[in-house]
């Protein structure tokens, strides 16, 4: 990912007031991590599992934080249980940021990723989670704002899935 794209993602997150992010690093969007760390206004928590990342983010949201959770496209599989229980069932909004490795537009796709990537969106749909796939930075701030508004309104996690230019 071009550094300027990472800057735009971070800008968009800060613009909607995200002040708490849980994450497992991956390869497509990881350049946002040093930017967030350098910025210093977003509390960052490294989790050992995406399932855990969702629960920590949910707890912070209940405590008044504006939260996001960053993961790769394996994350929805690993975290399906907590997305459904603390996310949907309890009703806690969490902005999901998913690096879409294994997608059609993943510029570094391979046999390692494609099976995971191709079934990721059906998995989100099976969980009843709203999502939008983003392939370039056009209107990125608006996409982030829209996703957070949907997440708040649904009282549930909602996902922005980054592919194309973001997955180089």
């Amino acid at each position: 990912m071009e550094p300027v794209l990472a800057e735009k993602i971070v800008h968009g997150l800060k613009a909607v007031g995200i002040d708490f992010i849980t994450y497992l690093p991956e390869s497509r969007l990881s350049q946002i991590l040093p930017l967030l760390r350098e910025d210093g206004t977003v509390q960052m928590v490294a989790a050992a599992s995406e399932q855990e990342a969702i629960t920590i983010a949910a707890g912070a949201a209940l405590g008044g934080k504006r939260v996001a959770c960053y993961m790769e496209s394996t994350g929805p599989y690993v975290s399906a249980y907590s997305l459904l229980t603390v996310g949907k069932q309890m009703g806690v909004p969490i902005l999901l940021l998913i690096g879409f490795l294994g997608s059609f537009a993943d510029q570094r796709n391979s046999f390692l990723y494609v099976t995971i990537g191709m079934r990721m969106i059906p998995t989100l749909e099976g969980l009843g989670l709203e999502y939008r796939v983003i392939e370039n930075a056009d209107n990125l701030d608006r996409h982030i704002r829209d996703a957070q508004r949907v997440s708040d309104s649904m009282r549930a996690p909602a996902a922005l899935i980054f592919s194309g230019e973001f997955a180089r």
């Binding site: 928590v45 050992a48 920590i56 949910a58 707890g59 209940l62 249980y81 907590s82 603390v86 009282r155």
Partner: protein, 200 residues
């Protein structure tokens, strides 16, 4: 020692703590003993400690207490290294370890009935003061400071299996009602607005 013995000692000490229970028998016993507005039911096993960590990070001046079970902790062992590295000073986790899946009708044994020691795993994960207690005096000594004191406490309470939770009335409160009561309590006591609950 049974779980209820411990919870009966904790309930009178409630002031402004935030208490989360996982989906185990203790949630019925606790919510029967305590109608504290800072109680929150986390509806399934394996999620309460994670939610507790998030709350403790968001509200570092509030004491957060998590009521866990051995089955629930075994479902989410990844919490322990994370907790062991966060340096939290306002979180207490009580693990009521009865060595069985008590919710199963046959009380099938958990790994802690065999060779597994949750407190030892916690210590090896960086929670240096994680401790196991197996009688009520031990709970008073090592457990109760986690209710009113400071620091990170991880207390594994070895308890006999008890089926009291099957005999007392279940709470007539659903997950959404718990959540809204809980966040309104936080709003009122913290003087903050939880961003997502009032948007219309």
């Amino acid at each position: 020692m049974i779980r209820r013995d411990c919870l009966e000692l904790v309930a009178p000490l409630m002031t402004d703590q935030l208490v989360l229970s996982s989906q185990s028998g203790q949630r019925i016993e606790w919510f029967h003993l305590s109608q504290h507005e800072g109680n929150l039911l986390v509806g399934m096993m394996g999620c309460a400690t994670g939610v507790g960590m998030g709350l403790a990070l968001a509200l570092p001046h509030r004491r957060v207490i998590v009521l866990e079970s051995d089955g629930s902790v075994l479902l989410s062992l990844f919490n322990l290294p994370t907790l062991g590295n966060l340096n939290l000073t306002n979180l207490t986790v009580f693990v009521f370890d009865n060595e069985v899946y008590s919710g199963s009708t046959m009380s099938e044994p958990t790994a802690t009935a065999g060779n597994t020691d949750i407190a030892a795993i916690a210590r090896a994960s960086g929670i240096e003061n994680a401790v196991t207690v197996d009688d009520i005096e031990g709970f008073k000594e090592h457990g109760l400071p986690g209710v009113t004191g400071e620091g990170l406490h991880y207390v594994v309470c070895k308890v006999e299996e008890s089926l009291i939770h099957r005999e007392i009335p279940r709470p007539n409160v659903d997950l959404a009602e718990y959540k809204y009561r809980f966040v309104r309590y936080i709003e009122r006591t913290e003087g903050i607005t939880i961003p997502f609950v009032g948007l219309g």
